[in-house]
Point group: C2
Chain length 339, copies 2
Amino acid sequence: MSMVLSTIEYTSAHMSDRRSDVTPDGPAEMVRLATIARRFYLDGRSKVEIAEEFGLSRFKVARDLETARSSGIVRIDIRLPARLVGEQSELLREAFGLRRAIVVDASEDPLETRRALGSVAARLLAEIVRPDEVLGLAWSRGLQAMGAEMVPLPRCTVVQLNGVLSEHTEAGGSVETVRRVATLSGGPAYPIYAPLILPDAATAETLRADPGIAAAFAHFDRLTTAVVAIGGWDERNSTVYQALTPEARERYSALGVRAEMSAQLFDARGEQIRTDLDERIISVSADRLREVPEVVAVAGAGDEAKARAVGAVLRSGLVSTLVTDSDVAGVLLSEAPSD
Amino acid sequence: MSMVLSTIEYTSAHMSDRRSDVTPDGPAEMVRLATIARRFYLDGRSKVEIAEEFGLSRFKVARDLETARSSGIVRIDIRLPARLVGEQSELLREAFGLRRAIVVDASEDPLETRRALGSVAARLLAEIVRPDEVLGLAWSRGLQAMGAEMVPLPRCTVVQLNGVLSEHTEAGGSVETVRRVATLSGGPAYPIYAPLILPDAATAETLRADPGIAAAFAHFDRLTTAVVAIGGWDERNSTVYQALTPEARERYSALGVRAEMSAQLFDARGEQIRTDLDERIISVSADRLREVPEVVAVAGAGDEAKARAVGAVLRSGLVSTLVTDSDVAGVLLSEAPSD
DNA sequence: ACGATGGTCGCTCATATGAGCGACCTGGGT
DNA sequence: ACCCAGGTCGCTCATATGAGCGACCATCGT
């Protein structure tokens, strides 16, 4: 694992509740406390053993260790590889009732943040995917980064979850990602060669009958893990929004859309907003996703609107695992500690 | 206490004995371990509670914490105020069978080191001296520094342990130190206005009869705490050596002298070397000191010869508490882990 | 397909530990 | 000299924890 360097991110400063900073009186006492603390925390001796060694009662040893903790002689840090932020992860997990939340330290550079998200998401997949699973991949710039950072995976079936947005195909869209992941896993790939959004429902219907596309769709009800992206609802935070006509944008906005996931729309409370758009897309449906045991959302590298979009989709209950960055996490945690 | 800033000096890196660096596989696992570790080490929950919260067995929690420790997610440092070196203190204490050892970080500048030693020794006295004790003070540049750094002390009797060396009185010799400490403690002072070394035994004998000097000597058998210095046996490391004639130096050197304490001489094994010098000095005797419950030696800010001198005196068993610097400690610990 | 092998799991039982308590010092204030 | 307040100590007893073990499970070579 290449996530090497570490940072302190949380310190024992609390827990000074019960016995607030007792400072030992002099150097001899400090050295004595340090010695006992070393025996206990570093050498792994029991308090009873230490008590015998120093001719103290075990209670005294316990109190000494307590004093050493609260006076700062003993310092306990919970660190994580530099890019991971443990505390926000936990708070986020609890606040939104997620199975897992993984927060990556946001970089100044959004591209760098997106790369970090992709890298962590890739390793997460390697960690949670079991052999012979059916893995579904949606598309976003973030998931594209995940494809680039992909690491070897257990053998599994890889299915594309939705069509592509033409203006982004050059950079290597979801089709390439699906192929790449399948290659790294050694399993079959089911890409979807079709646009995400079509002019009308009929065309979409027709395309779904295409043998290749149907083959992908056929796997949707056997998905065990799905990786999806969350888009906002404005020019900057959503590739779907960008792809719509001004008229369509306006029409959907009027319904209170805040977030988009695989071209399906959600309001601030996480309720899905059904529109004609739903008929015009080539994508796994949100309802279908709801049946997938593990839905990983990768979303970050955006502004506050993006963060609120993430919150909206989380409230839908569709997502079991979130991978995001510390900026988004900060907004989510400050806004509404809901749920 | 003004010893504020802290440094890391020892880390949990060991204890990787039983379960050598197990690295958790992926980001999700790392975040999970960090969460559990935070609950346990920082929030003070029991393993049983944590097991219930996360739906694990308490054994699993214990193993997780073990993994978090050995993988470096949990880091425990034993720190001490920057100037104190805990590990050497402990090793020194054990190696020489001392009641206490306090090692001060050596500075580049010997004067600064001496000041630090003095400061720590002063605080040590404040810590260990009980009201109404009889406190004896010898003389050295180190103890002079202690006088300068002296902090308020419980009320006690302060007795000078030996005469002064004329060439050093200008700087404020032991007489001033005794007076200063007595003032800070609010107790009586018994200074000795006499030279440490006299030309012959008769003169020394006569001086001991002087009422002021006799008053000080009268307290020697009631001493409860004595603070002494340790000198080497060469031009650089001993003010006593400096005070002797070349002939005397040569004569004593031939007997294997390695260390000097209050003008009493010791060989490398810590055996006292009796000479005519013993009769020519105005000082508490080493034998008398042996009866004192607490003998604190303050010695440092010197070279390897000085360190060996300290080792010699420690081997005599006269000293119960040592205050020294990390350079001296390093030499002592590398040379002979004796005793 | 099969057995060997290394790893993980949760159990039992002996031990270590924490919470709370009364006994005992200790340092002022009257 | 006395007493009170605050602090420290080590006790009891209920609980948490560790060591060691067999059951189970996955992975691999044949």
